[in-house]
């Protein structure tokens, strides 16, 4: 059995009267592919935001590879190897796709970004193009973000997050806003690219077919709480999950 790479212990988070996380405890093995389901406001994105340092839990601990990261900033957590993509892709609108990728590569080196080394040096441009090729979006390299289809923007968002040496990748609704017929090809591309990086993946998703096809284990969130944590078939056949999340109960 693989060692645990990410552990959360009794995470609690409230925003005023709204409880966004209630005793959330998970232990994610290294190399696993897990998914998270739940209706809007169930606490999935809050979980992602807490793990990546965007918001701090009121109580509880988050351990990455044994290191307590609960109070670390997003930047520190990113440098440790936990990366994320966003439900709405966070890209630099005035830069081209290639330049977005070059920004990511410039930051995610072993050494700090340089005041002298050209960002557009051939070796770095080649590396950026190679990453874009892994996601099969290299043909758009010279386009601004406003010119890109939604699916391509999603892929670029993930491609930027994966540069360097990520250990855990959190994908927040990677197929949202993407046409139904493009969801599986997009996920195929993402999972293929991520598998080459040997990275632990946790993704938030609403499409149960994608959950079943791509994840080994599912966390079902309801009202800030994990109400099921098991293999996809087990979780999706759970009566409570069907009642509160998937709505498939008869």
């Amino acid at each position: 059995m693989s060692a645990t790479i990410l552990t959360t212990e009794n995470l609690n988070k409230s925003f005023g009267a709204v409880t966004a996380a209630r005793e959330v405890s998970v232990a994610v093995p290294d190399g696993a592919v897990w998914s998270m389901i739940g209706s809007n406001g169930a606490g999935k994105t809050t979980f992602v935001n807490m793990v990546t340092g965007y918001i701090k839990p009121d109580t509880g601990r988050i351990l990455f590879n044994g290191t307590d990261i609960t109070k670390m900033s997003p930047r520190q957590i990113t440098r440790l190897g936990i990366r994320r993509s966003f439900q709405i892709p966070q890209l630099c609108a005035e830069l081209t796709m290639l330049e977005n990728m070059l920004v990511s590569l410039s930051i995610n080196r072993k050494h700090k970004p340089s005041y002298k080394r050209s960002a557009r040096r051939p070796s770095q441009v080649d590396e950026a193009m190679d990453t874009l090729k892994r996601f099969r979006i290299e043909n758009y390299h010279d386009r601004l973000m406003s010119e890109l289809p939604a699916g391509v923007r999603k892929l670029l968002d993930i491609a930027m997050a994966i540069s360097g040496t990520p250990r855990v990748m959190l994908l927040d609704e990677p197929t949202s806003g993407v046409a139904a017929e493009e969801k599986f090809p997009l996920m195929d591309l993402v999972m293929e690219a991520l598998s080459k990086s040997n990275v632990t993946v946790m993704f938030v998703e609403h499409d149960m077919d994608i959950i079943t096809r791509y994840s080994e284990r599912v966390l079902a969130f309801y009202d800030g709480e994990i109400i099921a944590n098991d293999a996809p078939d087990q979780v999706l056949s759970d009566k409570i999950v069907q009642q509160y999340i998937t709505g498939t109960t008869k």
Binding site: P74, L91, V103, I107, Y115, A119, R120, D142, L144, E147
Partner: protein, 319 residues
């Protein structure tokens, strides 16, 4: 992506620019040489504003460093009797750098109008302080003795020409360094910060540090600009820190855009020419002339004069 018409080799471009400026200087009449020296020194300060604009910030208080540089050199000449332009410039860099190191990290936590107003307030605090300090000349300011150049004491046209040449050398060297910075990894990160700070933080670098460093780079440019202006005019006063002076630098930065460094100095020269001639022919309405001129530039070149010096690669057709 923008490709620049100028040679990609920065040292070659700098050498070429310096050669052209030197030749032009030799044939310029005295009044034009003075105008160019002033325009270039103010262009240095505007270049600092451009550095900040690349990160999405506008400083309305760059006069702070312009004034610090000018007073540092003026006081050095008055109190210690040192008038060597190289030493004066060094002191201007040190003085403005120290102040920027103190305020940079604090200001780097603010954005938008808050950053603009805080920079403005700092420069106005200096303006008020200098105006009330009789030991520093109060509102009358200080006279600055004619600069020397490593033991060379030029007079008359030779003085103006020497200062012009020194200014050209400074703007070419600093321009080359800033071009290197703009093309570097950090330079590209600055543009990314302008677009999306959240993304940059989540890629693993500190936005605050990047902005603080840019602020210091901008302050040093302001300090050198102040030293040269003080030496060229032979006088420094608190007006250097006044908000309208800072507004001029923002004016030049908007006029020039933030893609081309030569455009910043070109924009500064254009401003000086427009102001000089407006002042001559419309002494009571020259500010209005400047405003109309800026409006025309914004309408015709929304990305500034720099867009004339660069060309954008057309996007490939969709497949």
């Amino acid at each position: 992506m923008t490709e620049f018409i100028f040679p990609r080799s920065i040292p070659l471009a700098c050498a070429l620019a310096l050669a052209v400026l030197v030749v032009v200087g030799l044939i310029l009449p005295d009044w034009a040489m003075f105008l160019a020296t002033m325009a270039f020194s103010k262009g240095m300060v505007a270049l600092g504003v451009v550095c900040l604009m690349r990160s999405g910030l506008v400083s309305f208080g760059q006069g702070l460093y312009y004034c610090i540089g000018a007073y540092a050199s003026g006081l050095m000449a008055t109190w210690i009797g040192i008038s060597d332009i190289f030493l004066m410039s060094l002191l201007g860099i040190i003085a403005s750098g120290i102040v920027a190191v103190i305020f940079g990290p604090l200001l780097a936590t603010y954005r938008g109008i808050f950053f603009a107003m805080l920079t403005l307030s700092l420069s106005m605090i200096l303006y008020g302080t200098l105006s009330k300090m009789s030991v520093l000349g109060g509102t009358d300011g200080l006279n600055v003795s004619a600069p020397t150049f490593l033991g060379y004491h030029p007079e008359g046209r030779a003085l103006g020409l020497s200062l012009y040449m020194f200014t050209c050398a400074v703007i070419v060297v600093y321009g080359g360094l800033v071009r290197t910075l703009f093309d570097s990894e950090r330079g590209l990160i600055s543009l990314a910060i302008r677009d999306n700070e959240l993304r940059v933080e989540y890629l693993g670098t500190s936005v605050r540090t990047e902005i603080a460093v840019t602020y210091i780079v901008a302050a040093i440019a302001g300090g050198i600009g102040g030293v040269i202006s003080g030496a060229a005019i032979g006088h420094v006063d608190p007006e250097y820190a006044y908000w309208t002076t800072s507004g001029e630098f923002v004016f030049v930065a908007i006029l020039s855009g933030y893609f081309s460094i030569p455009a910043v100095f070109l924009g500064s020269v254009v401003l000086e020419i427009v102001r000089s001639f407006s002042n001559l022919y419309f002494p009571n309405t020259w500010q209005m002339s400047l405003g109309i001129f800026l409006l025309i530039v914004i309408l015709l070149f929304p990305k500034g004069l720099g867009s004339l010096l660069s060309r954008s690669k057309k996007p490939e057709k969709k497949q």
